[in-house]
């Protein structure tokens, strides 16, 4: 069978497995898998920038957090229906991206990293400092989940809701990445000047990729606000941005499956390590160092290496 057929079979197997999970998992672990799915989407959205367009952003939590705060503020402060807040949050995240992109895209490399970082910290400082609106450090509780005629309050129904949204978003991402637009992004990653010479408006492609990445991060952020029924400034903090970065790299940048696996692993490890020691941050730091030293191209890169070794005699 061809590789493509195997991929399709694999996808269906994973999907079937994900559908069956509520039957076999205890609610605690089902909630953990829900979180994994949300962060898988967050990591994939960052990979659109990092892996496909070649722009390493250290401020991706900004769009995640803006969407989450939009949801929380609309529901708690303005009394808007929870389901209606979702599309507004998406637009807010994309708009933030559209606003920040022209600033960040003035630069490349280290400067791009610093600027995205600094911009995200501005958003964080607003959420942290504007106490009368956001409660500052205390965050906003009582973010109710949407109700489309059936309640999402149970772990199982919310899991299916997240699975559906993340599934749809992933399909969209797969379509984007495989489209001529996605191929152009990869071309830009390899050589901006060559794509420019071929007549592509490089800046416009990067801009659209930036806004798309922000929008998908917004979907993840909105889901996470529902998930925790709470929003706090840590959603916007640089640690959140950096975790997304390590999820992408750990799994393997430039693929969609890699970051999803990376996200699942980091979320699982965080839960596992936190249950044993208070020093999750230390362990996370060590993971960064080890991944950089031993798997700089991620788990997907390791698999490729092993495969190549088998092919050669």
């Amino acid at each position: 069978m061809t590789a493509r057929a195997w991929t399709i079979i694999g996808c269906f197997a994973v999907l079937a497995l994900l559908f069956m999970l509520p039957e076999v998992l205890r609610p605690y672990y089902l909630a953990l898998v829900t979180k994994m799915l949300i962060f898988a989407l967050f990591a994939m959205s960052l990979d659109l920038l990092l892996g496909y367009t070649g722009l390493a952003s250290l401020g991706h939590a900004a769009y995640f957090g803006v969407a989450a705060y939009t949801i929380a503020l609309l529901i708690v402060r303005a009394g808007v229906d929870s389901g209606l807040a979702f599309p507004v949050a998406l637009v807010a995240a994309a708009a933030t991206g559209a606003l920040f992109a022209p600033l960040a895209l003035r630069a490349r490399g280290s400067y791009f990293l610093m600027i995205t970082f600094a911009l995200a910290q501005v958003v964080w400082s607003v959420a942290f400092g504007w106490r009368s609106l956001t409660n500052g450090d205390d965050g906003i509780p009582d973010v109710v989940r949407p109700d489309f005629g059936w309640s999402l309050d149970s772990t199982t129904s919310f899991y299916y809701f997240v699975l559906a949204i993340v599934g749809l978003a992933t399909l969209l991402l797969v379509a984007i990445v495989g489209s001529p637009f996605g191929r152009a992004l990869r071309g830009i990653r390899e050589s901006e000047s060559r794509m420019q010479a071929l007549g592509y408006n490089v800046w416009r492609y990067q801009y659209v990729a930036f806004v798309l990445a922000a929008a998908f991060a917004g979907i993840a952020g909105a889901l996470y606000a529902y998930y925790n029924r709470f929003v706090g400034p840590e959603y916007l903090y640089v640690v959140q941005s950096a975790e997304a970065l390590i999820m992408v790299i750990l799994g393997g940048a430039g693929t969609l499956i890699g970051p999803a696996i990376g996200a699942g692993l980091i979320v699982f490890l965080e839960d596992f390590v936190s249950s044993m020691t208070a020093h999750w941050v230390l362990v996370l730091g060590i993971i960064y160092v080890l991944v950089t030293l031993f798997a700089p191209r991620g788990l997907i890169g390791l698999v490729d290496q092993l495969r190549q070794r088998r092919v050669k005699p």
Binding site: Q121, V122, Y288
Partner: protein
């Protein structure tokens, strides 16, 4: 008169920022490493200074021990980790981020989560009369130290043999190596100097700003803004940017406390639009 006080406060804070940004900028200029551990060097330096001060009561000893210890740690990180990924941006970023987390958690473990203040050395515990106000002598001392370090770094760069090698390395590390300059030793040395300067800033900041978990991120952001404004790799840019940002920050905190960071970030955004490589940065 209040304006003079605000400007002096801003310059004093700006000098601390200069110590941080100078190291960040030197390291980037020579090695093209964006050192995210720089804020941790500041915080850990401050904490070490605090402990030495508590044990011995000597501020000078606190400065010396903190700077030496952190410079050694910096040299080790460069030699054993960063060196393997020369000019490879993403792994370097990840490594320095990893160390940021490691230092953050270790210092939380050792020094706890409460804000700590370094005791002000006795000779600085009074104020100087200035019109209707009294101005704390320690801040004037900060300004003086900043100027001395800035002058020293300039002299080091322009008039010493190592400074000449450094300038050659910044211009073209490969050619410098071919000319017989020991560039790899230079890398370790400059990384240690940068880390030491950050630790110096940490100890000096101890008596005025407190040390607490999260301060590492906060000063890192300020140092980033300074080098974005001034331009990476330029000492002049680090000084100009640090003074500008220090003063703007002081006015922001005094007049718009809820949005203090905005008075810093809006000028940064404006400069980015006009000159993406900063005031003194090179293309």
């Amino acid at each position: 008169m209040t304006w003079v006080i605000h400007i002096l406060n801003g310059i004093a804070f700006g000098m601390l920022l200069f110590l941080l940004a100078a190291g960040l900028s030197l390291i980037y200029g020579l090695m093209k490493i964006l050192n995210l551990t720089h804020g941790s060097f500041y915080l850990v330096g401050g904490y070490i200074g605090l402990t030495v001060m508590q044990r011995t009561g000597s501020f000078v000893l606190a400065l010396v021990v903190a700077v030496a210890a952190v410079a050694l740690v910096g040299a080790a990180i460069e030699r054993f980790f960063l060196r393997r990924f020369h000019l490879d941006e993403l792994p370097q970023t990840l490594l320095t981020f990893g160390f940021l987390f490691i230092f953050a958690d270790l210092s939380l473990w050792i020094w706890g989560g409460n804000p700590l203040m370094l005791n002000m050395p006795e000779i600085f515990q009074h104020s100087m009369p200035m019109g209707y106000y009294a101005y704390p002598v320690y801040r004037l001392f900060l300004i003086a130290i900043g100027l001395v370090v800035a002058g020293g770094l300039w002299w080091f760069q322009e008039h010493t043999r190592i400074g000449t090698m450094l300038r050659a390395g910044v211009d073209d590390a490969e050619i410098a190596r071919a000319l017989g300059i020991n560039v790899s030793l230079l890398f370790t040395l400059i990384f240690a100097v940068g880390a030491g300067l950050a630790a110096l800033a940490g100890v000096l900041a101890g008596p005025v700003l407190s040390l607490y978990p999260g301060a590492d991120f906060e000063v890192l952001i300020f140092a980033f803004v300074v080098v974005i404004v001034g331009g990476l790799g330029s000492l002049r840019g680090a000084l100009a940017g640090a003074l500008l940002i220090g003063i703007l920050d002081d006015f922001g905190k005094a007049f718009f406390p809820e949005f203090a960071l905005f008075t810093v970030f809006v000028p940064m955004a404006v400069i980015l639009v006009i000159r993406p490589t900063g005031l003194f940065g090179r293309r």
